[in-house]
C-alpha cells in the first residue's frame, strides 16, 4: 500500500482509525494494567483493595524479590539464574527452527519435491499431537543418544517440534511469491541455496519476523520440555516462574507473581518491539506485472 493511500477517507477516517486502534489497545492492555498495578502493591493492599485501583505507593520489593530473592526450590535467587539458561535455549532453537522451516517451506512450495503436498499434509498432522503424549518416547530417545539433560538436546527438540507449523507458514508464504523471480534466478544459473539465501530470504523479512515471534514465544514460554528435558541445572525461566507462582500448599504472593511474570515476559516483548521495522517492508512490490 502506498503512502498516498493513507489520505484515503480523509481526516475523519484517520480519527476513526486511531480511535479503533486505541480502544482495542486499551482493551488488550487491561489485564496488563492489573498485573503492573498489582506488582507494585503490598500483599496487604492486594487483599484489601480493588484489582483496578492504583497502588497507594509504589512498592518495588516485589520486583526485587521476583528478580533475585524469590524461592524456587532450595534456592532463593529469583528468576535471575533462569535467564541465562533460557537464552542459551531460545537463541539457537529459534534460529535453527526458523531457518530450517524456511528452507523446507521454500523447497516444498517452489521446487520439485515428489509428493510435496502429501508430505506437507503428513507433516502438518504432527502439529496436532499434544506434546505430553510425546514426552516418554522423547526422553527415552534423547537418553539413548546421551542428549538427555543437555541444552543441546532441548534445542534439538524445540527445532523439531516447531517444524510442522513453521514449515506450513513458510510454504504458504512462498507459494504466493511471484514465481517468475525464482525462474529468472534459475536462468541466471543460481542453485537452490543461492536462490534461497540471496533472493528468497531478503524477500521474507515479514514472515521471518512472524516465525521468529512464534518460536520465541513458544520456546521462551515452554515449560514442559524445559522442565522434563532440561534435567537438573538447566532450569529455564519458565520453570522458575512456575515455581514462584504456582503453589499447591505454600503461600501465594500475588505481587511477586505479577512482577515475575512481567519480568519473564520482557525478552519476547523486546523481540516483538524490535522486529517492527522488518514488518513494515512489503515484498516484491511492483517488480512484477500481471
Amino acid at each position: 500500500m502506498t503512502p498516498a493511500m493513507a489520505s484515503r477517507g480523509g481526516i475523519g477516517g484517520r480519527i476513526l482509525l486511531y480511535a479503533a486502534l486505541i480502544v482495542l489497545a486499551l482493551a488488550f492492555a487491561a489485564p496488563l494494567f492489573v498485573m503492573v498495578a498489582t506488582s507494585f502493591k503490598t500483599m496487604a493492599e492486594i487483599r484489601q483493595g480493588s484489582i483496578f485501583s492504583l497502588p497507594h505507593q509504589i512498592d518495588l520489593s516485589a520486583w526485587r524479590d521476583a528478580w533475585s530473592h524469590a524461592c524456587t526450590g532450595a534456592y532463593c535467587e529469583g528468576l535471575k539464574p533462569g535467564f541465562v539458561t533460557s537464552f542459551q535455549i531460545v537463541v539457537p532453537a529459534v534460529l535453527g527452527s526458523v531457518f530450517l522451516a524456511a528452507i523446507n517451506g521454500f523447497a516444498l512450495a517452489r521446487w520439485t519435491v515428489p509428493h510435496a503436498d502429501k508430505l506437507a499434509a503428513v507433516l502438518l498432522l504432527g502439529a496436532f499431537v499434544p506434546y505430553q503424549a510425546l514426552l516418554y518416547p522423547i526422553v527415552h530417545t534423547l537418553g539413548l543418544f546421551d542428549l538427555y539433560g543437555t541444552i543441546g538436546g532441548l534445542v534439538l527438540i524445540h527445532i523439531l517440534l516447531g517444524q510442522p507449523i513453521l514449515t506450513m507458514i513458510f510454504r504458504t508464504f512462498y507459494a504466493a511469491l511471484p514465481h517468475e523471480i525464482v525462474q529468472a534466478a534459475r536462468i541466471d544459473g543460481a542453485g537452490f541455496y543461492r536462490i534461497f539465501f540471496q533472493l528468497i530470504l531478503p524477500l521474507s523479512p515479514s514472515i521471518l519476523v512472524v516465525a521468529a515471534i512464534m518460536q520465541t514465544t513458544a520456546i521462551w514460554n515452554d515449560y514442559l520440555f524445559g522442565l522434563v528435558l532440561g534435567g537438573t541445572g538447566n532450569t529455564p525461566v519458565t520453570v522458575l516462574l512456575n515455581n514462584i507462582v504456582n503453589t499447591e500448599t505454600g503461600e501465594a504472593r500475588y505481587n511477586v507473581n505479577m512482577a515475575a511474570t512481567l519480568l519473564a515476559g520482557l525478552p519476547p516483548l523486546a523481540v516483538y518491539f524490535l522486529s517492527g521495522r522488518y514488518f513494515v517492508r512489503g515484498i516484491a512490490a511492483g517488480a512484477v506485472k500481471g
Binding site: Q183, R186, I187, G286
Partner: protein
C-alpha cells in the same frame, strides 16, 4: 559484450514433438522447430497461442508432457534450467525486487564466479547500451515500466550466453528506444552469433530482426520461414492475415476460369487473377479467398474501370507518413495504404487495381495457399 568471440556454431536448438497442457487446455500440440546455431528466430502468433509457454519449455522452466528439446546437440529435456546456460528476458520482467539494478545485472555473473573487474566492466557496458547507467543504484520498485524492461534485457545480455530467449522484450519501450534497441540487438546478434529466440507482437520487430519467423497458432507452427517469404508467400490464410500491419485484405468469392482465372464475389464484383502463379489452380466454382496487401493495392478514379467494381471510401485513418483508406468493395471492406499527401477525400468514388503476381490466393475450405 562485444567480444568478437565466435560462438556461431554452438547454440542450436531442436524442438521435437513437444506437447504441454495446463489441465484441460492443450497449449502446445506436437510442436517441432529446428533452430540453427546463430539463428535469430522470432515466435509470432496471437495472444494466448503458447509463445511464452514454448519459450519457458526451451528455458527449462516448464516441464513438458511429451517430446524432447535438444540444445547444442544434447538432449536437455530433463536438464535443469540453471544448467542450460541461457539468457532470458521475461514478459513480466521478474526483476529481483530486493536488489538494485546493479545487483540484478551482476547476480548471474556472481553465480558464475566471474571476476569482480569483469563484472563491473560488463555491467557498465550493458548499462550504457541500455541507457540505464543513472538507474544502477535504484531498486526495481522505483523504476518506470520501460526502465524495468530495459533492466530485464540487460540482465540477459550481460551473461553473454550462446542462447538467448526474449519474451516481448521491447513491448514497453517507446518507439525511438525500440528502434535503437532493435538495432542493438541485431548488432549483438551479428557480432556474437548468439542463437536468439524472440517472442514479439511487433511485426516490424519480427520482420527486421528475424532470420526466420515461426508463426504459431494454437500451439502449432503454421509456417517457419524467412521474413520475406513469410510476408510475400504466406502458406496459410492465418499467416497471411496475421503478418503485416495493416493486415492483408481478404476478398471472398468463387473461382471462375475466364482468362487466366478470376474471382467473382457474391455481390457481383469481378477481379482478374491474371499473372498469379498458381501452384495448383482451383476448380472452377470453388470458393477462394484473394489476399491483397494494403500497400500492394491502389486505386484509380472510378470512371476508368468497369462499373462492376466500384468502391466507396468508408474511413480514412492517418498514420503519419501514410494514410490508411478503408474502401467498401461491395459488402467487403478493403484497406489501401497511400502516402498521406495522396490521400483521397471521404466520399470520393474510386476503383481498385492490384498486381495479381503479388497477391495471394487461398482455398476457402482449407485456408491453404493455392
Amino acid at each position: 559484450m562485444m567480444n568478437p568471440v565466435n560462438r556461431a556454431t554452438t547454440g542450436g536448438i531442436s524442438i521435437r514433438n513437444l506437447s504441454k497442457a495446463y489441465g484441460a487446455t492443450m497449449v502446445l500440440k506436437d510442436t517441432s522447430l529446428e533452430i540453427e546455431p546463430g539463428e535469430f528466430t522470432v515466435l509470432l502468433g496471437p495472444s494466448g497461442c503458447g509463445k511464452s509457454t514454448l519459450l519457458s519449455a526451451i528455458a527449462g522452466l516448464e516441464t513438458v508432457d511429451g517430446g524432447s528439446i535438444h540444445m547444442r546437440g544434447e538432449d536437455v529435456t530433463h536438464v535443469d534450467a540453471a544448467r542450460r546456460r541461457i539468457g532470458m528476458v521475461f514478459q513480466s520482467y521478474a526483476l529481483y525486487p530486493n536488489m538494485t539494478v546493479r545487483g540484478n545485472l551482476s547476480f548471474g555473473l556472481k553465480v558464475a564466479k566471474v571476476s569482480r573487474n569483469e563484472i563491473a566492466w560488463r555491467v557498465d557496458r550493458v548499462a550504457e547500451l541500455l541507457q540505464i547507467t543513472a538507474l544502477l543504484d535504484r531498486k526495481p520498485a522505483a523504476l518506470s515500466g520501460g526502465q524495468r524492461q530495459r533492466v530485464a534485457i540487460g540482465r540477459a545480455l550481460v551473461r553473454e550466453a550462446d542462447i538467448c530467449l526474449f519474451d516481448e522484450p521491447l513491448s514497453n519501450l517507446d518507439a525511438k528506444l525500440r528502434t535503437e534497441m532493435r538495432m542493438e540487438l541485431k548488432k549483438i546478434h551479428r557480432t556474437l552469433g548468439t542463437t536468439m529466440v524472440y517472442v514479439t507482437h511487433d511485426q516490424v520487430e519480427a520482420l527486421t530482426l528475424a532470420t526466420r519467423v515461426a508463426v504459431l497458432r494454437g500451439g502449432v507452427v503454421e509456417q517457419y520461414a524467412d521474413p520475406r517469404t513469410l510476408y510475400e508467400k504466406p502458406e496459410t490464410m492465418f499467416v497471411a492475415g496475421f503478418v503485416g500491419s495493416p493486415a492483408m485484405n481478404f476478398v471472398r468469392g468463387r473461382f471462375v476460369a475466364e482468362g487466366q482465372g478470376a474471382l467473382h464475389t457474391a455481390d457481383g464484383i469481378r477481379l482478374s487473377l491474371a499473372g498469379y502463379p498458381f501452384r495448383k489452380p482451383p476448380v472452377a466454382g470453388d470458393e477462394i479467398i484473394l489476399g491483397l496487401r494494403p500497400e500492394a493495392t491502389e486505386f484509380a478514379p472510378a470512371s476508368a474501370f468497369a462499373a462492376a467494381n466500384p468502391v466507396e471510401i468508408a474511413l480514412i485513418e492517418p498514420m503519419g507518413a501514410d494514410t490508411l483508406v478503408w474502401l467498401k468493395l461491395g459488402e467487403q471492406m478493403i484497406s489501401v495504404r497511400v502516402p498521406s499527401d495522396r490521400a483521397p477525400s471521404p466520399g470520393d468514388r474510386l476503383a481498385i487495381t492490384f498486381d495479381a503476381a503479388r497477391a495471394s490466393v487461398f482455398a476457402a475450405d482449407t485456408g491453404l495457399r493455392c
